[in-house]
C-alpha cells in the first residue's frame, strides 16, 4: 500500500485545479459552491473569511476558494491569487443598482498579474428572480468585450434551482484542462 498510495497521490496532485470564486457580497457565491457540492442551502450567512470545497469533478480534484465579498474583506482577495487556474466571478443579476461597482471590482481584479493566465467564468446568478438581467445585458454592463486574449465565458444560472451551474463548471474545467494538461 505504501509506495502505491504515494504514487497515486502524486498523480492526483497533478490533476488538481484551484478555482477562486469572488464577487460582491450577497452575489450567491456560497450558495453556488454548496449547491454544486450537494449540501443544504437553506441557511447561509455572510462569509466572514473563506469556504473551501475540495471535490472530484469530471476526473479532476477541484479546490474552490469562496472568499467573502464584503467591502472590508475585498482588500484581502489578493492573498488568494497565487496559482489560481480560474476565476469565478459571481454577479447578482437582479442587483442592477450595484452593477457599476461590480464592473469596477472585476476590472481591477483582472489587472492583477498573478491572475493573468486564469480562465474567467462569470456566473450571472439569480436568473430565477423576476427582473434579473439576462447574460447579454450583464455582458454589456460589465464591459466583458474588453477582455482581450483571456479565455472567458458568461453563464446564466440560479444557485437556488441549480440551473446553469453544471454548464459553467464543465466549461471552466475543460478550459483549464486544454491550457494546462496538454500531455493528458
Amino acid at each position: 500500500m505504501g509506495l502505491l498510495s504515494i504514487i497515486k497521490k502524486v498523480k492526483q496532485k497533478e490533476k488538481e485545479m484551484r478555482l477562486l470564486m469572488v464577487g460582491l457580497d450577497n452575489a450567491g457565491k456560497t450558495t453556488i459552491v454548496k449547491r454544486i457540492n450537494g449540501e443544504d442551502i437553506t441557511t447561509i450567512s455572510p462569509t466572514l473569511g473563506f469556504n473551501i470545497k475540495t471535490m472530484q469533478f469530471n476526473g479532476y480534484r477541484l479546490n474552490i476558494w469562496d472568499v467573502g465579498g464584503q467591502k472590508t474583506l475585498r482588500s484581502y482577495w489578493r492573498n488568494y491569487y497565487e496559482q489560481t487556474d480560474a476565476l469565478l466571478w459571481v454577479v447578482d443579476s437582479a442587483d442592477t443598482r450595484r452593477l457599476e461597482d461590480c464592473r469596477q471590482e472585476l476590472h481591477s481584479l483582472l489587472k492583477e498579474e498573478k491572475l493573468a493566465g486564469a480562465s474567467l467564468l462569470i456566473f450571472a446568478n439569480k436568473q430565477d428572480i423576476a427582473g434579473a438581467l439576462g447574460t447579454l445585458d450583464i455582458e454589456k454592463a460589465l464591459d466583458l468585450q474588453a477582455m482581450g486574449s483571456r479565455h472567458w465565458r458568461i453563464v446564466g444560472c440560479s444557485a437556488v434551482t441549480g440551473a446553469g451551474l453544471l454548464d459553467g463548471f464543465e466549461w471552466v474545467v475543460a478550459d483549464i484542462r486544454s491550457r494546462i494538461f496538454l500531455l493528458d
Partner: protein, 189 residues
C-alpha cells in the same frame, strides 16, 4: 518538546513513518489563536453523519498552559466509528475554524495515519492565508482507500490501534499538534 531540538517543519513531519512521541509543540505555540469550532464526518454516499463535534458558543478558549498529565484530554480525540464506515466509498469532512486578531500566513494541515507500524494515509492541505478575525470552513470529499476484509477485521479487532497525528503549520512554524485514536464498532452478527 525537547529543549534545543531542531524546529519541526512540514518537510520533517512528511517523513514520519510512526506516530510522533508526545506533542511536538506546546499549546502556547498557537500564537495566532486558531480555534476549531466544528468538525463533522459524513458518509459521502448516504449523507449519514458519522461524527460531529462543536464548541458551544462562548466556551472558554483552550488554555495555553496545562499540566502535562492532563494534556491528552485537551489534545487527543478518541473516535468510535461503525465498522461499515471502513467500507464507505467516500467520506465528507467539514471543518470550521476561527483565527485571532493577526493574519495567518500559509496555514497548512498535515495529518498522518498509522496502524500497526504502517503508514495508512497522509493528508496534506494548504489553506493558505487566513484573514484576521475570520471564520473559515473547509469541506472535503475524499475517496476512501479500499480496505481488504483482513484489514477491516484487524482494525475492528484492535480498538485505538489506528492512530493519527494532526500538525498545523503557518509557513515553517508548527503552531498546533493534536492526536487522534480510532476504534471501529462491529455492527453485524
Amino acid at each position: 518538546m525537547v529543549a534545543g531540538a531542531p524546529p519541526v517543519t512540514p518537510e520533517h513531519v512528511l517523513q514520519h513513518r510512526a506516530p510522533a512521541p508526545g506533542y511536538l509543540c506546546p499549546l502556547s505555540a498557537n500564537t495566532y489563536d486558531v480555534e476549531f469550532v466544528e468538525f463533522e464526518i459524513r458518509d459521502y454516499e448516504t449523507g449519514a453523519s458519522v461524527f460531529k463535534v462543536s464548541r458551544p458558543p462562548g466556551a472558554p478558549p483552550v488554555p495555553k498552559h496545562i499540566d502535562p498529565a492532563l494534556e491528552d484530554q485537551v489534545r487527543q480525540v478518541r473516535y468510535a466509528f461503525p465498522e461499515e464506515f471502513l467500507r464507505a466509498q467516500g467520506i465528507r469532512t467539514a471543518l470550521k475554524f476561527k483565527v485571532g486578531d493577526e493574519p495567518v500566513p500559509d496555514f497548512r494541515m498535515i495529518e498522518r495515519h498509522y496502524f500497526q507500524g504502517e503508514l495508512l494515509r497522509s493528508f496534506d492541505f494548504n489553506f493558505g492565508f487566513c484573514i484576521p478575525n475570520s471564520t473559515n470552513t473547509w469541506e472535503a470529499v475524499y475517496p476512501m482507500p479500499e480496505n481488504s476484509p483482513a484489514r477491516i477485521k484487524a482494525l475492528v479487532a484492535s480498538p485505538y490501534a489506528h492512530v493519527s497525528d494532526s500538525f498545523y503549520f503557518s509557513g515553517q512554524q508548527l503552531i498546533m499538534h493534536n492526536k487522534a485514536q480510532y476504534r471501529y464498532v462491529p455492527t453485524g452478527p
